[in-house]
Subunit: 228 residues, 2 copies
DNA sequence: GTAAAAACCTGATAAATATCATATTTTAAA
DNA sequence: TTTAAAATATGATATTTATCAGGTTTTTAC
C-alpha cells in the first residue's frame, strides 16, 4: 500500500492540509484502483461512500436530462478530488463519472474524510474554498448555457479545454473527446457539434485529425465566444 | 440594535449553529438595513465584505452574459444567507443582487463570519452542507439549461416558483416577477416568455392577471417539464 | 485480415427561438 | 387627471438548432 504522505498528487488538492498522522491513517484505510477507459466510477443514484483522489487519467462527470440526453457538467483530471459533494450532503450521487482514459485513483472512505473535516479546520476551510470555487464555475456555466449560442459555447469550450489540459508537442489539446462528448459538454446534438467543428476547420480557426484538435487562431475563438 | 439571539430568521440558516456568545458578538457588529424594491444589494465586481442575512423580502441574483443579456441564477428570500461564496473565496462578486420588493436585511461583516468559521466547526459544516446543496441545484440547472427547451424550462420554473414561494389565499404564486424577470430566469427572450405564458393560459394550464400567476393544472406542467 | 460495429460526416428539412415592428395596456410622474 | 414611460402583447420574419436519412471512415472483436 502506497503512502499518502509521499504522494505528489495530494499537493494539488485539499488533502495537502492534513497532518502526518491524518495522512498515515488515510494510507491505512484507502484503496487504490486502476479504472479502464470507459468504465464507470460511480453512477447516478449510487451511494458513493467516500472520495476519489485522482492520481492519473481523466473522467467525465455527467447527468441524464429528463429528455434522455446526457450533459457533461465537468471534466476531472489528475490531482482533483471527486465525490465530496455527495459525501457532505449525505445523499446519493446525482451525477455519473466515466473514465475517458485509463485511470489510477485512490478511494478514501467516508468516515475517514468526515473525521478529518470535523477535526482539522484548515482542511475543512480548504474544501469549503474548493466548493465555493466550483459554485462560481457552475454559475458561470448556467449563464453560458442559458444565454449563449451553440457556436459561442463551442468556441468557449475549445478555449477552456486548451487552458485546462494544455497542448502536447504537436500543439494538439491534451484530451481525447469523441464528437458526442463534445456535444454533451456544450449541450447540443452530436451532428450540430460536428458541423460547427467542420466550419471552424474550414475557416482555419482550428484543425483536427480524428480526436486530436489544435487551435490555430485563439483570438478568433475568443471573439466568437464573447459574441463579436 | 436588535439581538440576533432572539431573531427567528436565524433558525432557518447556518447561523442557528452559533453559540450565545457568538451571537452576542454578531449582534454588536451587524448592521440592519431596509432595502427598497429595485435597489441593488451588491453588483458584479464589488467586494461584498460580509454576509447578508435576509430578514424579509425577496431578491434576484443575476449575472450579465457577454452578449449583454442578464441571467437570473437564483431567487433569495426570508431566512436565506447571501454572499458567503464571495466571502469564502475572497474574491469580488461575480453576481448582482437586486431587491424584488422592499427588504429587511442584516449585514454581518466578513471578519466576524471568518472568525466563527474558524472556531465553530458545527457552523462551518453547516455552511459546507449549504454549499454542497447549492452546487447540486446548480448542476441540475446546468443540465436543464443545456438540454431542455424553453417551454420545458418555463413549466419547470413555474412549478419551482410555486413550491418555493407557495401560494396566497387566491391561489396565486407568492412572488411578483415581471415578464422580463421570468424570461431571465428561464434564459430566453422576453417576447418568447410572454408568448409561452399566453399559450399556457389559453390551454387553461395557468391563469394570470398582470404579475399574479396561478397554476391550474400542475400535472400538465409536470408532464411538460419532463418532456411528455 | 476481415467483418461488424461504432464513430464521423453531410444534406435536407422541420422545429424552436430570436428579432423586429408595432399596438395596447398598465404604471409612474407631473 | 393627464401625460409620458414602461411593461405587456402579438404578428411577421429570420436565424438557429434539431432531427432524420443516408453516406463514409475508423475502430473493435474475432
Amino acid at each position: 500500500m502506497s503512502k499518502c504522505e509521499q504522494c505528489i498528487v495530494r499537493q494539488f488538492n485539499s488533502l495537502k492540509h492534513l497532518s502526518k498522522e491524518e495522512l498515515l491513517r488515510m494510507s491505512n484505510c484507502k484503496t487504490s484502483k486502476i479504472i479502464k477507459k470507459g468504465e464507470i466510477l460511480f453512477d447516478e443514484g449510487e451511494h458513493i461512500n467516500g472520495v476519489f483522489c485522482i492520481k492519473d487519467g481523466v473522467c467525465k462527470v455527467s447527468k441524464m436530462s429528463d429528455n434522455g440526453r446526457n450533459q457533461i457538467v465537468s471534466l476531472i483530471q489528475k490531482g482533483d478530488l471527486l465525490g465530496e459533494r455527495s459525501l457532505i450532503s449525505d445523499e446519493v450521487s446525482n451525477l455519473k463519472a466515466v473514465a475517458l482514459n485509463d485511470m489510477e485513483i485512490c478511494f478514501i472512505p467516508k468516515d475517514e474524510i468526515i473525521r478529518d473535516l470535523q477535526k482539522n479546520n484548515n482542511f475543512t476551510m480548504s474544501v469549503l474554498k474548493d466548493m465555493a470555487s466550483s459554485l462560481k464555475t457552475a454559475d458561470n456555466l448556467i449563464v453560458d448555457m442559458a444565454q449563449k449560442t451553440v457556436k459561442q459555447r463551442l468556441a468557449e469550450t475549445l478555449l477552456h479545454l486548451e487552458t485546462k489540459f494544455s497542448t502536447n508537442t504537436d500543439g494538439n489539446i491534451n484530451i481525447q473527446l469523441s464528437r458526442e462528448d463534445i456535444a454533451n459538454v456544450i449541450g447540443t446534438a452530436t451532428e450540430s457539434a460536428i458541423r460547427l467543428l467542420s466550419d471552424l476547420k474550414k475557416k482555419k480557426v482550428i484543425e483536427f485529425k480524428g480526436k486530436d484538435i489544435k487551435i490555430l487562431n485563439r483570438i478568433a475563438l475568443e471573439k466568437m465566444a464573447t459574441g463579436f
